[in-house]
Assembly symmetry: C3
Homo-oligomer: 389 residues x 3
């Protein structure tokens, strides 16, 4: 596929987007469900589902055979650090006496944001440092959360019910900030050998994340009809990116790179975060089609260029899924709502998290000591492998 | 084990079934649960659970090491195509303005039916064709769904609350129809090498499908007491087939074939679909015992003969689990209810889906072009395998 | 690390525990959630979640490559036997006419207890014997359950809402009883070779068990505020053991043994069973810190000594997680409540289950016949492995 064809594919997607978005119905589908809103029972299930997703993010990143267990450990430690620090902030800084299911949901969303973020610099710090980064990330996240919900700054709060900005862009740019501060160029040369089954774990994680996503985007809603609409638009956006990421891989590279596809098929759910309540199901399908295509194209074209430019490797390609997926959500929500509010907040969040990430990354760099081998389980784990036959 | 012994085993199961079924209590156990029925919140959870099951069906079929990722891709694309086509039919043909949680549940059940069906002809069409088959399957399914719920045809609708006919038989015979039209005999000669871990993924999928099954069979119920009874009878039937499939494998083959057992242990939940609200827990246990034994026996004896007869390989043995499990449910429901209604609908569904499958299969055959290698990831995927030491 | 340092680590943990426990608030955090308690819908979800956990326990034990599938089969058969026997006892002995969601939850908790227990003697009996042990275990469990809930014995029932004694200690000591009766010393010499991916399945199981745990500990509660508090304290205890088990592994062994860590990180949730409603979140964090450290230390120091002493190998290290985790819960609950009630019940349960386990173990020993190979899939399964290149 030559450059002209590539540009044609991208242009046709943009034109398609423009046509459909401008004809999208202003009032969206939502029925009275006869339900009493989000009960504590319903939130209990979503609380666990989001923890489920947090654990699955580990398996999404466990494709490098020599570095599987260390990823799991890194996820557990960064989740642990950020969860307790977030709750401590709520109790002892904001003075919340009671920690409700809703508060627990906010805490695990803070943790999953960090777990996504560590994908950028995974394997380039020592295992105990994930705990440290977790403790330090929580105040940054709590500040961003407060900032985005604050209507006094530019007259309106961000319109981001499903976390396109708060979770995904925050994760991508915080991670990039840390990576740029650590600046370990050895990651570029690391052989990332996979096995059939190590990649099968990634398929498992991606497919289960995909189906759990409605729990994540609807967990903050209080109206039952919104939950219904958000569930539907999340699934439709997911279907959109399942299709378009496949199409882009096949058109551009003739074959599917499973480590591009299993990530890019989640771009629809990422982008729907900012748009889930302002599109109908067919609009959501389009959001997903666009996001999946953009994310797959970024894996193929943007990632090598961007990483070269900033001088560090985005190990797991976090920016292609969460960063770019977030931007798609932000831009589409601005188009549909006819306001630049989300764009303003997105730009601020990028700035805040890059700076905060760089600061925490510098601390990680100066405390990590000597690290002879990177992205490898060997320094951390005792093994009892089957001897070669 | 010789032929006489085999016949004795089968006969004793049939006699046991006859004795117990005729003594089964007519009125079944169901308590007022003090609940307000199936709320949208409860359906939200079941909606996700059925998507969970849909994804797990992929892993149930991922035992061939050289063809793991292609199975996942096939599942995603066929689900995507059928889901959007089913919702489009509901909105634009049947004029449903609002897509509720209940409607979303019906849509994902349509998709999981197709995902089961593709197991018959998996690996014998090109990857983009799963999307095409998905788009074409949805109208067939929507017609069968309407047909079975229609009380005007023979004076009564089918009694199939948990989908023995609508999902499982529909899947098995639609898949067989497609396979017979494609008629790729190379599947018989394909070496289906597994690894310990590829089969372990199948165990994972089977065991999680087993425990999620009550969400699937109770998702269409509106009465809380029915949900309770359906949960119980589904688990009891599942336990029945866990036990009887093991016994049959051990008695007939002396050892357990994991690819027979992990499938046949789900036959109880398949067969309970038509009988879940007309048996008590111990009757459900018996339904499961019979279904598990029948399914395991079909994997061992029927599959080689049937495939030779029809000239195509049922790649994943779909007919042994879903086809035969469905028949067990249909026959037992007719015996218990004393009516041939379900038998009539089952026969019609077999006919409709065989013909529709054959038609769509012919289209797939003429559009698939040249396909040098079948049941293999190589043509579709970029690999970065660990080099041999 | 020398012996002095080891003792210092342990002592400092004990002192920390003493200081914080005596300053723990007596009244704990619980808000009125405006919910109508545990509805049948909410229990439906927890019922399935606990079955999910039961299946995951299989994968927690599937790290020995030559013995993966047999573990799954053993789990299925022992769950099947115990579930139907428990329900039969409830219906035909205790005369329960209706089996509610709550009763189903109690039944699956009986089954998961046995599934934990078989980890002690896994691979040393024949596959059909797991079914037999299941049928025989249910009456033992039903008796223990009745015994612990009986306030007439010493004037108060056990205070164990989350099953530290009823599930975990019962499992550990029943399993030890069986193992001591079977007395197969060959287990000590068995090479337990793992692979990277077999251990990755253990990570998957451990991480998902961790996040599902609140469903397990709150399933027996009827008050919505208690459910909320139990969810929070369970997660906080889990975070505690994620951190302390890591710290102990790193301090004592310099590297993390994944088969120690993936188990010990669950010790907090085990120990919180008896204390979940009498601590605040920070107390729960401490409970988890202590339990994770104790469990990891037991894997490293106690297991080899204990197994030598009693002359049998605890194959999966059940006692280190469930036995010792249970003791931590019991002792801390006695300290906080200022009563020896739980200690009394724990001691009785240890005695009852050791004796019952030994009796059932003797039966298993005399019925198992000749067993040439132990802890191996070969005698039970047909394989179709990929030939070596």
């Amino acid at each position: 596929m030559n450059t002209v064809q590539r540009i044609l594919v991208i242009l046709s997607l943009v034109v398609l987007a423009g046509v459909v978005l401008t004809t999208m119905p202003a009032d969206v589908l939502a029925a009275d469900t006869g339900d009493i809103g989000q009960t504590a029972s319903a939130l209990f299930g979503k609380n666990l589902d989001i923890w489920f997703m947090l654990m699955l993010v580990a398996f999404l990143m466990m494709f490098i055979k020599k570095y599987e267990w260390g990823v799991a450990l890194a996820v557990l430690l960064s989740a642990a650090g950020s969860y307790i620090a977030y709750l401590a902030i709520q109790q002892f800084v904001f003075g919340e006496e009671i920690i409700t299911q809703a508060m627990m949901v906010r805490a695990v969303i803070c943790s999953i944001t960090l777990v996504i973020a560590i994908g950028v610099f995974l394997g380039t710090v020592k295992s105990w440092q994930y705990l440290m980064v977790g403790l330090l990330f929580a105040p940054v996240y709590a500040f961003v959360e407060w900032f985005m919900a604050n209507p006094d700054i530019i007259g309106a709060a961000a319109a981001d019910p499903g976390g396109s900005i708060l979770v995904h862009m925050c994760a991508a740019y915080f991670g990039l900030g840390v990576a740029m501060a650590i600046r370990d160029k050895r990651a570029f040369d690391e052989p990332m050998h996979t096995t059939t089954h190590s990649v099968t774990f990634v398929w498992l994680a991606s497919m289960l994340l995909w189906m759990l996503w409605p729990s994540f985007v609807t967990a903050g809603l209080t109206d039952s009809a919104d939950v219904q609409l958000g569930t539907l638009t999340c699934f439709m956006a997911g279907i959109g990116s399942v299709i378009s990421a496949y199409a882009v891989c096949m058109i551009v590279e003739k074959k599917v790179n499973p480590l591009t596809y299993t990530y890019a098929l989640l771009a629809g759910p990422v982008a729907i975060g900012a748009t889930m309540l302002i599109v109908d199901p067919w609009g959501a399908l389009l959001v997903g089609l666009i996001a999946g295509a953009v994310s797959a194209l970024c894996f193929i074209y943007l990632q090598p260029r961007l990483c070269k430019m900033i001088g560090v490797l985005d190990v797991m390609g976090v920016h292609n899924l969460h960063g770019m997926g977030g931007w798609v959500g932000v831009i589409l929500s601005c188009v549909i709502l006819g306001t630049f509010t989300n764009l303003f907040f997105a730009a601020c969040v990028v700035g805040i998290t890059l700076v905060a990430g760089a600061a925490i990354g510098l601390l990680a760099r100066f405390t990590r000591g000597k690290m002879d081998i990177i992205m490898d389980d060997d320094p951390d784990f005792i093994k009892n492998e089957e001897p070669a036959a």
